[in-house]
C-alpha cells in the first residue's frame, strides 16, 4: 500500500517542479486547440468506407442529387394563399438571390443553381393551344396579375411531380428546394437567406427554412454556444458545491485547477491527434469536469480528518495518499474502462469520445495524485490550521441535514434488509418490462427544443407539403446477360415479328439464314457485331422497299442489345407504379416520385392533357419516345435524377413527413415485404440512400454496438472488482447496485416513452464505470471498519456517519455537476444532463441501501469467508 506514499514524495519535496511540469504539459497540449475542426455531419457517425455510405455517396453522384435546404413560403391570409402576385414576386426574387449564393469563406460551398427546384426554375409541360404541347418555365417572370398567379398554381397542381413538393396541395405554401454542394454551407446559407427575407415587405408571407442539412449544420453552431454556456456553468456549480462542503476558498481552487488541466489537455490531445470536434466529443469537457474533481474531494475530505489528528501536513499527506491510492486508482480505472468500452462501438465519433474521456480520467487521476499534494505543500501552513479547527467541531457532533438524513437510513436498512431486497427485485422485474417497451428512435430535427425555429419550420412545412425528409430507393437491374444461343433464339422471334408482307417475309427469311450462320460465335457481343455487319452488307445492295425491312431488322439487334435498359419497359414501370401506390396507401410516405410518374405525366400531356392517358405507354418505344419528348425542355437532365442514362438503375425519390428513424424503418420494411410478396417482372435489386436512411443505419449500428460495449464494460468492471476485493463474491456484490440502477433507469425510459436515441444509448455503458465508484468506496470502507470493530451492526452504524457523508457528497457533486446541461438549447445535452444526474443520484442511493441490506442478509457468509 505504499505506492501512494512513495509517489507523493516527489510532490512533497518538489511541489514547484510538479506544478511547473503540469502547466507546461497543459500548455503544450492547449497549443493544438486552435486547430479545431468542427464536424456536425451525422454521416460521419458511419466510417467513411462504410458500404452504405459509399453507396449513398455514389447514388448522389449517379443521380446528380444534392443535399437540400428547403425554404417554405406560407401565406394563410390571402384568399389564394401564396398564389398572388406579391408572394410569388418574393418567391421569384428569393430564388434569383439564392441561385448566386456561396460561402464567402469557401467558394466551393455553394447553391447548385441549375438544380434548384422553384417555380421559376422548373419546366412546365403544358398545353400551348390545340394539339400543341409546350415546355416552358412554370414561372418565367413574377406574375403581374391574380389570373397569372392562379395559372401558375393550376399548372403546378396538375403536375404530380410538383404537387406536394413544389406547391402545397392546399395552395397555402410554395417550396424552394436549394441543392447545396456541401452540408457545411447550410447554416451560412440560411442566414444569408434570412437577411434577404428581412428586406421583403412580407404581407402575410411567412418564410421557413428546413431540411436535414440545416438542422445538422445549425446544431454544430449551437453546440459551441452550449459548450460556452454549460461548461463554465458546470464549473461554477461544482465550485459552489465544494465551497458549501468545505468552506475553504483557497483549498478548493486546487480541484478546479485539476479540472481545467484535465479538460484543456484532453481536448488538446483530441484535436492534436487529428480528431474532429463532433457532437459527441463536444460533450467531453462537461463529462470530465465533475469526474476530475471527485478524487480531489476524497483527498481533501480525508486530509481534513487526518490533519487535525496528525497536525503536520507532510505526514498527513503521506498517510492520506497511502490510504486512498488504491481506491482512487480503481475508481479511475473503472470509470475509464466504462468509457473506453465505447471503443467497441462501430461508430467513429463515439469511439473517439469514449477513448478520450477515458484518457481524460487518467489524466485527472495523475494530476490529482501529483498536484493536489504539491498544492497543499505550497499553501501557507496558517490557512491549513484554520481549516482543521473548523472541521473538528463539525465532525464531533455532525448535525448537518445530510448527517440527519443518513442515520435513520442506516437503521432502516439494517432492520428490514429482506423487504428492501424484495422491493428492489420487484422493481427490477417491473423495469425489465419497461425495457422491453423501449422504442429505438432518433431524429436530428428533434435535437432542437420544441420551439426552436428549426422545429417550428419542420412542423409547418411538413403540415403543408408531402415531406421534407428525403430518402432514395435505388432499383437496379439484375437481368442476366444472354448467351449467344439465347440471343439467337430471341432474335429469331424478333425477326419473325417483322415479317408482315411478301417483301418483308423474303427479307426476314434471308436474315434468319444469316442469323443461323453467325450464331456460332463465342460471345453474344461478337455474334451481334458479326450479324450486324452481315445485315448491313445485305441492306447496302437491297432495293428501296427491302432496304427499309433490313433497317427494321437491324433495329432489332439494337433492341436486343438494349434489353438491359429495363427502366424503359412498361411492365417494369408499372411495377414501380404499384410499389409507389402501395407506399402511399400505407400512409408511411408523404409522396414518392419516379420515372414512372414522369412518363405518365408526359404521356398525358402528349395526349391533350387527357387524364385517361395518365398511364404508362404500352411499349418500350412509347416510353422512350415520351421521355425523349420531355428532353426537348430546358432541363432535360432532370430525367437523370430518376433514372441513369443506361436505364439500368432507377431512383424513387421518397419524401417523408417525419424524420424519425422508426418512420424510415417502417418504409424500408414495407418496401422489402412488398418486393417479396410482389416479385418484379425482371430481377431487380433494391437499396436505400439518403440522409434519412443513413440515420437509420448508424442507429442500428449504435444499438448493437452499445449492447456490446455495455456487456464488455460490465465484464471488465466485474473483473476489476474481483481483483480489487480479491473475492468473486465481493466483486459481484459491488456490481449489484449499479446494475439495478441501470435497469431501473432504462425501465423508466421505457415507461415514460422517452426514445432510445444517441445520447441515451451512449450513456448506458459509461454510467456503469461511474456508478461503481460508490460501491467501491462503500465496500472498501465497510470492510476496513468491520476489520476494526468485528461487528456488522457497529460497522453499519459507523458507515452511515463519515463514509456515508463522503459518498453522498460525491453523489451530489457529480449529479449536480451535470445539471447545467439542462440549460442547453439542444435536446441531446439536456437528455445527458437529466440522465446522468438521475443515474448518479439513484445509484448513489441504491449503493447506500442495497449494499448494506445485502451484506446484512449475507453477513455470515461474506465475513466468514473474508476472515478465513
Amino acid at each position: 500500500m505504499n505506492h501512494g506514499s512513495r509517489l507523493v514524495q516527489t510532490s512533497i519535496l518538489r511541489p514547484k517542479l510538479i506544478t511547473t511540469l503540469m502547466v507546461l504539459f497543459t500548455l503544450a497540449l492547449a497549443a493544438f486547440i486552435p486547430q479545431v475542426h468542427v464536424d456536425t455531419d451525422p454521416e460521419n457517425m458511419l466510417a467513411e468506407d462504410e458500404a452504405v455510405r459509399l453507396f449513398h455517396t455514389n447514388t448522389k453522384k449517379e443521380f446528380a442529387l444534392h443535399d437540400l435546404l428547403i425554404v417554405g413560403v406560407v401565406n394563410e391570409k390571402h384568399e389564394h394563399g401564396v398564389f398572388n402576385p406579391e408572394t410569388l414576386g418574393h418567391v421569384f426574387a428569393l430564388t434569383e438571390f439564392a441561385a448566386s449564393l456561396s460561402d464567402p469563406d469557401n467558394p466551393d460551398y455553394k447553391v447548385v443553381a441549375r438544380d434548384i427546384i422553384a417555380p421559376s426554375t422548373v419546366d412546365a409541360i403544358t398545353q400551348a393551344g390545340p394539339g400543341q404541347v409546350s415546355f416552358d418555365w412554370l414561372m418565367a417572370a413574377p406574375p403581374t396579375s391574380q389570373e397569372e398567379a392562379l395559372r401558375i398554381r393550376d399548372l403546378a397542381m396538375d403536375n404530380p411531380l410538383l404537387k406536394g413538393t413544389l406547391v402545397a396541395e392546399d395552395g397555402k405554401a410554395v417550396g424552394i428546394y436549394l441543392p447545396i454542394t456541401s452540408k457545411k454551407f447550410a447554416h451560412t446559407l440560411s442566414q444569408q437567406l434570412e437577411e434577404k427575407i428581412a428586406t421583403f415587405n412580407t404581407n402575410g408571407d411567412k418564410f421557413f427554412i428546413t431540411g436535414l442539412p440545416v438542422a445538422e449544420d445549425t446544431f454544430g453552431n449551437e453546440m459551441f454556444i452550449q459548450m460556452a454556456i454549460s461548461a463554465p456553468l458546470a464549473m461554477l456549480v461544482i465550485f459552489l458545491l465544494m465551497l458549501y462542503f468545505f468552506r475553504q476558498f483557497r483549498l478548493i481552487i486546487s480541484p478546479m485547477i485539476v479540472a481545467m488541466v484535465t479538460v484543456i489537455s484532453t481536448m488538446g490531445l483530441l484535436i492534436g491527434t487529428g480528431h474532429t470536434l463532433h457532437i459527441m466529443s463536444s460533450m467531453i469537457p462537461i463529462f470530465l469536469m465533475p469526474i476530475a474533481v471527485v478524487d480531489s474531494i476524497h483527498i481533501m475530505s480525508e486530509f481534513f480528518d487526518e490533519y487535525k489528528k496528525i497536525g503536520e501536513r507532510r505526514k498527513t499527506l503521506e498517510h492520506v495518499m497511502s490510504q486512498l491510492f488504491t481506491p482512487m486508482l480503481y475508481t479511475s480505472l473503472t470509470s475509464a474502462a466504462g468509457f473506453a468500452s465505447l471503443a467497441f462501438t462501430p461508430i467513429p465519433p463515439v469511439q473517439a469520445f469514449g477513448i478520450f474521456v477515458a484518457i481524460g480520467i487518467m489524466i485527472a487521476w495523475l494530476t490529482t495524485i501529483l498536484f493536489i499534494p504539491a498544492y497543499i505543500m505550497l499553501m501557507p501552513e496558517s490557512s491549513l490550521r484554520n481549516f482543521g479547527v473548523k472541521e473538528k467541531s463539525d465532525l464531533a457532533v455532525n448535525n448537518t441535514a445530510l448527517a440527519r438524513a443518513l442515520r435513520p437510513l442506516g437503521i432502516f436498512v439494517h432492520r428490514w434488509p429482506k423487504i428492501i431486497i424484495s422491493v428492489c427485485l420487484l422493481l427490477t422485474l417491473v423495469a425489465l418490462y419497461g425495457i422491453s417497451k423501449i422504442q429505438v428512435n432518433d431524429n436530428p430535427v428533434n435535437w432542437f427544443t420544441k420551439n426552436h425555429q428549426i422545429r417550428v419550420a419542420d412542423r409547418v412545412l411538413n403540415n403543408h407539403f408531402s415531406g421534407t425528409y428525403e430518402a432514395y430507393l435505388i432499383l437496379e437491374s439484375k437481368l442476366a446477360p444472354l448467351s449467344p444461343a439465347q440471343a439467337q433464339q430471341e432474335l429469331a422471334i424478333l425477326f419473325r415479328d417483322q415479317a408482315l408482307d411478301a417483301t418483308s417475309k423474303a427479307v426476314v427469311a434471308k436474315a434468319l439464314a444469316i442469323l443461323t450462320r453467325t450464331a456460332q460465335q463465342g460471345s453474344t457481343e461478337a455474334m451481334l457485331a458479326l450479324l450486324e455487319a452481315d445485315l448491313l452488307e445485305s441492306q447496302a445492295v437491297a432495293d428501296d422497299p427491302s432496304y427499309e425491312v433490313w433497317a427494321d431488322l437491324l433495329a432489332q439487334i439494337d433492341i436486343l442489345r438494349n434489353r438491359s435498359q429495363i427502366f424503359k419497359r412498361p411492365d417494369v414501370l408499372r411495377y414501380i407504379e404499384g410499389l409507389q401506390a402501395h407506399l402511399l396507401n400505407s400512409g408511411l410516405v408523404g409522396k414518392s416520385s419516379s420515372i414512372a410518374d414522369l412518363t405518365k405525366k408526359i404521356h398525358k400531356e402528349l395526349f391533350e392533357a387527357d387524364p385517361g392517358h395518365y398511364t404508362i405507354p404500352d411499349s418500350v418505344g412509347g416510353v422512350a419516345q415520351s421521355l425523349i419528348s420531355f428532353q426537348n425542355s430546358h432541363k432535360p437532365g432532370d430525367l437523370y435524377h430518376l433514372v441513369t442514362p443506361d436505364y439500368q438503375k432507377a431512383n424513387i425519390w421518397v419524401q417523408l413527413q417525419n424524420g424519425d428513424n422508426k418512420a424510415m424503418e417502417a418504409v424500408v420494411r414495407a418496401v422489402r415485404i412488398y418486393m417479396i410478396g410482389h416479385p418484379p417482372p425482371v430481377q431487380i435489386s433494391h437499396k436505400w440512400a439518403g440522409l434519412t436512411y443513413l440515420n437509420v443505419v448508424w442507429q442500428d449500428k449504435m444499438v448493437s454496438g452499445m449492447r456490446d460495449a455495455f456487456l464488455s464494460s460490465f465484464i471488465i468492471v466485474f473483473v476489476m472488482m474481483m481483483i480489487l476485493f480479491r473475492s468473486p463474491t465481493w466483486g459481484l456484490l459491488a456490481m449489484v447496485p449499479l446494475t439495478m440502477t441501470i435497469a431501473w433507469i432504462y425501465g423508466i425510459i421505457g415507461f415514460v416513452g422517452k426514445e432510445y436515441d444517441m445520447p441515451v444509448a451512449v450513456l448506458s455503458s459509461l454510467t456503469l464505470g461511474l456508478a461503481v465508484d460508490f460501491a467501491i468506496h462503500f465496500l472498501q470502507r465497510a470492510r476496513t471498519i468491520f476489520t476494526r470493530t468485528g461487528s456488522w451492526h457497529a460497522t453499519i452504524t459507523a458507515m452511515f456517519e463519515e463514509p456515508g457523508r463522503a459518498i453522498s457528497r460525491n453523489v451530489i457533486v457529480i449529479a449536480l455537476g451535470f445539471t447545467p446541461l439542462l440549460l442547453a438549447p439542444l435536446v441531446p445535452y439536456k437528455t445527458v444532463g437529466i440522465f446522468l444526474a438521475s443515474i448518479m443520484a439513484i445509484s448513489g442511493l441504491a449503493t447506500m441501501v442495497i449494499l448494506p441490506a445485502l451484506i446484512t442478509i449475507m453477513q455470515g457468509w461474506l465475513f466468514g469467508k473474508t476472515n478465513s
Binding site: 448566386s100 441549375r114 418505344g621 419516345q625 425523349i628 426537348n632
Partner: protein
C-alpha cells in the same frame, strides 16, 4: 430581305480571291456568317451523330438524318429530322418551319404512340433531344434578336459580341462569336451568364469544303457550369439535292421521305 444577302457566294469568292478588298461592315459580316453556317446551297442533307457526354463521362448517342431547304437565302427555312438511334426512338421525326417574322412551327411524330404533336416554339433555347444543343443552335438564331458589336478584328477572326434585345427571354447575358475571315464560318462562341461568367461554349472542330461550301463536320457544345458536352459529327453531307417543299409537310412525318431514311 436586304439585297446584300443575295450575294453571299459572290462575296465569299471575292474574299478568297484577295485580301485587298476593303473590310465588310458589321451587318455584312453577320449575315454572311449566318448564310455560311445555315444557308449553304438551296438545300442540303447530312447524317448526324451526336455523342452526349455528361459530367460523369457517361455517353449517349443520337443518330439522325437532317434535311434542309431554304425558302429564301438568309430567311425562311424548312428542316426535317429523321431519328435512327437509339432504336427505341427510331422513326421519330421532327419538322421545323423556320420563319423570320414569327415563331417557328415545330412538329414531332412519335411512331410508337402513333402521334403527331405540335411543339410550341416560343422558346428556342430548350434542349434538342436531350443534347447540349439547343433547337436554336441547329436552325440558327434570328439575327435581329441581338445587338451586335465588332469587338476585334485580327488576322484570322472577326470577333463579334451579341447582346440580346430581350434579356428576359434567354439564359445568357451575351455571347461572343469568332468568325473565320477566310470563309465566314463561325468557329467559336462563348456564352456569358447574367453574373458575367462563361458557362457555355460552341467550338467547330473540323471543317471541310463540300461542293464548294465550307461545311462543319464536327462541332462541340460544352456546358461549363454542370459539366458535360455534346459532340456532333456530320457525314454524307450533300447540297442542292433539289428537295421538294412537299417533303417538309406534316403528312411526311409518318412516312418520311427516302432522302431522310437512307
Amino acid at each position: 430581305m436586304r439585297p446584300k444577302n443575295l450575294f453571299p457566294l459572290l462575296l465569299l469568292s471575292a474574299l478568297l480571291a484577295g485580301p485587298a478588298l476593303a473590310a465588310p461592315d458589321l451587318d455584312d459580316i453577320i449575315s454572311q456568317a449566318n448564310n455560311v453556317a445555315y444557308y449553304s446551297g438551296d438545300d442540303g442533307r447530312a447524317d448526324v451523330a451526336m455523342t452526349i457526354l455528361d459530367n460523369q463521362s457517361r455517353t449517349r448517342e443520337r443518330l439522325f438524318t437532317i434535311l434542309r431547304k431554304d425558302i429564301e437565302e438568309g430567311g425562311d427555312q424548312l428542316y426535317f429530322v429523321y431519328f435512327k438511334r437509339p432504336s427505341d426512338v427510331r422513326k421519330t421525326t421532327f419538322l421545323v418551319h423556320k420563319y423570320m417574322d414569327r415563331d417557328d412551327d415545330r412538329w414531332m411524330y412519335l411512331p410508337s404512340l402513333d402521334l403527331v404533336k405540335r411543339i410550341a416554339a416560343s422558346d428556342q433555347r430548350t434542349s434538342f433531344m436531350g443534347s447540349h444543343f439547343f433547337h436554336e443552335d441547329l436552325s440558327g438564331r434570328h439575327l435581329d434578336a441581338d445587338h451586335h458589336a465588332l469587338l476585334e478584328e485580327n488576322d484570322t477572326f472577326y470577333v463579334i459580341k451579341n447582346i440580346p434585345k430581350e434579356p428576359a427571354d434567354v439564359e445568357f447575358a451575351s455571347y461572343t462569336v469568332w468568325i473565320d475571315k477566310k470563309n465566314f464560318l463561325p468557329m467559336k462562341a462563348e456564352y456569358l451568364d447574367k453574373s458575367g461568367a462563361l458557362y457555355r461554349t460552341m467550338e467547330v472542330l473540323e471543317v471541310a469544303t463540300i461542293a464548294g461550301y465550307p461545311t462543319v463536320l464536327k462541332s462541340r457544345i460544352s456546358d461549363l457550369e454542370a459539366g458535360g458536352s455534346t459532340v456532333t459529327r456530320f457525314s454524307n453531307v450533300k447540297y442542292n439535292l433539289g428537295l421538294d417543299d412537299n417533303l417538309f409537310s406534316e403528312r411526311y412525318l409518318r412516312r418520311p421521305p427516302r432522302e431522310a431514311r437512307q
